[in-house]
């Protein structure tokens, strides 16, 4: 039995307009070994962040499930920590207090002095000594993500979930922080699941790379072993034939699997068009869920499973009877 099993996971979102569901990805199935660093690569909108949220317990799968050490994941827990793309640090807390919040949550029985000492160790580990009393707004993107990494590692989680952690960091700083991540991961030997669309980042950091086809109805296309010796140095990798082969392989896959999103006018055509147009113009920010709901196919035509548990992210789960979800299509 494997350490972390993603067991035939399907995610549907209810459609924005009208009845029916949109399938983000279907039947995603793979296993992660203990201590492994696995990265998922795919075009934006293939649902890779949604899958990460499902593993974190922040969202629920529509079908299938995630099993960690033989136990199904149903809610967030201290055994899995997330590093967010937008850092998600509490802006009213100092760097120190942000990390302290996590350490206190992990070790509620510890005395204050012990907690503070532990926090300081992680502050030092990411090279933020001297900036402990600053608030996140006073820090650069790179420094903020260092805090995010320190916060996640300080709870000593079994599984670390990285949601495009370097996407908002400038290219030069990115490499430095990636090296820090590898160092901390090597020391902690935690299991890592990362999501990114940066192919180089995926190869440099990972033991294996999972490839997703484009959504809607994205699928897991395959898993690629990265058999490059560690520690890896970016400079040496550039001349490594195996690195170049992997890079070409993954890029070729991504180019081939790229397809434009379907642009069907939505019900109430003119209004639908305008909305579609606005969203492409970037005039409106859509959440991933909203983006997905726009590609809705009525449930009767989509051939969706007759018995589904429609769940909305961020809300308490509520079963929707198949009759209700199908019935209003006519």
């Amino acid at each position: 039995m494997s350490y972390l099993e993603i067991d035939h996971v399907t995610k549907l979102f209810p459609a924005t307009e009208g009845p029916g569901e949109v399938c983000v990805f279907r039947d995603v199935n793979f296993k992660i070994e203990q201590g492994e660093f696995l990265t998922m690569v795919g075009h934006s909108g293939c649902g890779k962040s949604t899958l990460l949220n499902i593993i974190a317990g922040l969202e629920h799968p529509s079908a299938g499930g995630v099993v960690l050490e033989g136990r199904e994941i149903r809610q967030p827990g201290m055994d899995r920590m997330v590093v967010f793309q937008n850092f998600s640090l509490m802006p009213w807390m100092t760097v120190f207090d942000n990390i302290r919040l996590a350490v206190r949550a992990a070790h509620p029985a510890w005395r204050r002095a012990v907690v503070d000492q532990f926090v300081q160790r992680y502050v030092d580990m990411v090279g933020l000594r001297g900036a402990e009393r600053k608030r996140p707004a006073a820090l650069s993107g790179g420094m903020r993500q260092r805090v995010g990494l320190a916060r996640a590692f300080s709870t000593e989680p079994k599984v670390l979930l990285l949601d495009e952690p370097f996407a908002q960091i400038d290219a030069l700083t990115r490499g430095v922080i990636q090296d820090e991540l590898v160092r901390m991961w090597t020391a902690s030997r935690s299991t890592v699941f990362m999501v990114t669309h940066d192919v180089d980042e995926a190869i440099v950091l990972s033991d294996r790379v999972a490839l997703m086809t484009s959504g809607p109805e994205a699928r897991l296309a395959g898993l690629v072993d990265v058999k490059l010796p560690r520690p890896r140095s970016r400079a040496e990798l550039l001349d490594e034939p195996e690195y170049l082969r992997l890079r070409a392989h993954i890029l070729r896959f991504l180019v081939a699997s790229a397809r434009p999103p379907p642009r069907r006018p939505l019900p109430g055509s003119r209004r639908g068009h305008r909305k579609l147009f606005r969203s492409y113009e970037g005039g409106e920010r859509w959440t991933e869920e909203q983006r997905w709901r726009r590609f809705a196919v009525p449930a009767s035509r989509a051939g969706s499973p007759t018995k589904i548990w429609a769940r909305r992210s961020g809300r308490r789960t509520r079963p929707i009877s198949p009759r209700r979800s199908m019935g209003s299509t006519g």
Binding site: S88, M90, L101
Partner: protein, 259 residues
């Protein structure tokens, strides 16, 4: 000091002086018996009153300091109680959109009612004019405060709540370390509005109940035809209002955060 700031202060002083001169000039040409005292007369009264702000010669003759203290005491009790109730209620409403929508129509109806309109009911039920005034203040600051915490809590970024969920914070720690700090700027903005409206309401309430307080003082001095005292009391009300607002302004700057 920056030059534009100097210009602003200079302009302000100039406007104030011009107003005082105009006022003093108009005093001379007023019809006899209906005139308003000029700034010099008011200043003379002010000096006299500020020299002994806390004297007490019986119920109808107290120093302005005592009157203001009585008003601020009422304001303190009424506003603090109202704020605590409204913040707790607002947080609960902000956490539950359904409850918020259910309660909202009632709040909308209660909000435009002048707090003084409740006075007869309070007088009838509790039979005590001073406590009735405090309840009027409570009504005046309850509704403005209620909406803001609800809005602040309802608009907390999902990310912060996700972090709280991953760290499995207890509801109490989630409230204290995430929800209240995140909503704090909105809450203080509500408190700032409500302390202003409470200070407005207190003058009228005290005119009705009599006894002590700055509102009663204004009415009493009007009955004595001591218009210089009335004008000085009006100024004092304004200055206290500014100080109250500035205190909450400082609090809001301390609690503000940039994302």
């Amino acid at each position: 000091m920056r030059p534009d700031r100097l210009r602003v202060i200079g302009g302000s002083a100039l406007l104030g002086l011009a107003f005082l001169f105009l006022w003093q000039a108009l005093v001379g040409v007023q019809p006899a018996g209906r005139g308003i005292p000029g700034p010099l007369a008011v200043a003379a009264t002010a000096v006299q009153m500020l020299a002994h702000p806390f004297y007490n010669n019986g119920p109808n003759d107290k120093g302005i300091g005592l009157q203001l203290a009585a008003s601020l005491g009422r304001l303190g009790i009424g506003w603090v109680v109202a704020s605590v109730v409204a913040i707790m209620g607002g947080v609960v409403l902000g956490l539950s959109p359904t409850l918020y929508r259910a309660v909202n129509p009632y709040v909308q109806v209660l909000k435009p009612i002048s707090p003084l309109a409740w006075m007869p009911l309070f007088l009838h039920t509790i039979n005590d004019s001073s406590q009735s005034a405090i309840l009027v203040l409570l009504m005046s600051s309850l509704w403005p405060t209620l909406a803001n915490p609800a809005f602040g809590v309802a608009t907390i970024k999902r990310d912060y709540l996700n972090v709280a969920a991953i760290l499995q914070l207890s509801w109490w720690r989630r409230l204290v370390t995430v929800i209240l700090p995140a909503a704090a700027p909105a809450i203080v903005a509500g408190l700032r509005i409500s302390i202003g409206s409470a200070w407005v309401a207190i003058v009228a309430a005290e005119m009705l109940i009599g006894g002590t307080g700055i509102g009663y003082f204004v009415w009493n001095e009007w009955n004595n035809l001591a218009l210089t005292s009335v004008i000085f009391a009006i100024l004092a009300i304004g200055v206290i209002g500014v100080l109250l607002d500035a205190a909450l302004g400082r609090l809001s700057r301390r609690l503000a955060y940039t994302e």
